[in-house]
Amino acid sequence: MNPIFAGDAMRELLMRELLVPEAFFFALQSPANNLWNQIIHSGSAPDLSKFLVVGALLFVIGVAGVLTRRNVIVIFMSIELMLNAANLNFIAFSRYLQDTGNLNAVAGQVFTIFVIVVAAAEAAIGLGIVIALYRNRATIFVDEIDLLKW
């Protein structure tokens, strides 16, 4: 894969569009500071894998939220975040299929719409349960909802 988003293109873009002075890049490219070079040269052009990594990180944050929080509503929000991370993967793969020959591939986008529908239904039902729970038990903390615990 050719590094399209490599240093020179990025530098030209910044100089042309944002009027960044050229001295700024000399300062960045001093031998002591080659982090900039590493970031923009080491194949960091946003391709499919970058989108998948963003989706994976969003999913992991959602998992951590579900496992650590006590508030039921925040747990529901974390579940929405996980569903959304899956949606990002669907859309990224849809674009990848379009770019590898199947120019009209929209199956991933159609599936994403169904995921959004199911997420909306799940939020409505879940929040109804939360309201009923609060009315009966006067709490929304998951560790205080222990009727089934022996």
Binding site: L13, P46, D47, L57, I61, V74, D99, L103, A120, A124
Partner: protein, 211 residues
């Protein structure tokens, strides 16, 4: 599919915004703040959808998630929230051992996911490296042929048209099932959220016989 130029810059901006907002959502003390952080995360992901050429899904995301689901969340927070978390009298997270175990598990999951994504993507890129280059030309030619918008500065995407066509042709049955699912969800939410007084007024039989 490699984003270049401004698209790449916007990818980094919006993906980092989505991740930071998601982290702040998980750690927010107030549930209302968590909802607002989730809204900003969802809007950033919608911007990523636009970068990927899925304009219709981005619009649906903003309208349904941000406009519908999150407003529902905010209403329920208003009805339910006790404010004990905000005052600091209630713990935010589970017990310490449980939280540490959960974070370790999440880190392991993250390492595994990123490793497997990179491994799998390497094989995929090897397989498709020639194909990507030749299809890129065809895609560029196809987007050249798209009609100009009214202002003349942008082209009209065929994304929405294609999704509509495949929703009504190839995904017609799932589409109908989704509408039934939404109907059941509406009825179920109304049933679950009724008060005792409303239940009594509707003439239903109370299983506990208290009315």
């Amino acid at each position: 599919m490699t984003l270049t130029g401004w698209e790449a810059v916007f990818f980094w901006i919006f993906s980092s915004a989505a991740l930071i907002a998601a982290l702040l959502m998980v750690m927010a003390r107030s549930a209302v703040h968590a909802a607002l952080f989730l809204i900003s995360s969802l809007v950033s992901v919608a911007a990523l959808f636009v970068l990927l050429g899925a304009e219709f899904v981005a619009g649906v995301q903003v309208l349904v998630y941000v406009g519908g689901v999150m407003v529902l969340f905010l209403f329920v927070i208003m009805l339910v929230n006790v404010g004990a978390e905000e005052r600091g009298s209630e713990r935010l997270f589970n017990g310490q051992a449980q939280t540490i175990a959960a974070i370790v598990f999440s880190l392991l999951l993250m390492v595994g996911l990123i490793y497997s994504i990179n491994q799998g993507f390497r094989g995929l890129a090897e397989r498709d490296s020639t194909r990507l280059a030749e299809v890129a030309e065809r895609r560029a030619a196809m987007s050249e042929r798209l009609p100009l918008g009214a202002t003349g500065s942008a082209k009209i995407s065929r994304d929405t048209e294609q999704i509509g066509a495949s929703l009504y042709r190839f995904a017609a049955l799932p589409f109908e099932i989704a509408s039934v699912v939404l109907l059941v969800a509406i009825v179920g939410a109304v049933l679950l959220a009724r008060t005792r007084k409303q239940e009594a007024a509707s003439g239903d039989v109370d299983p506990e016989g208290t009315t």
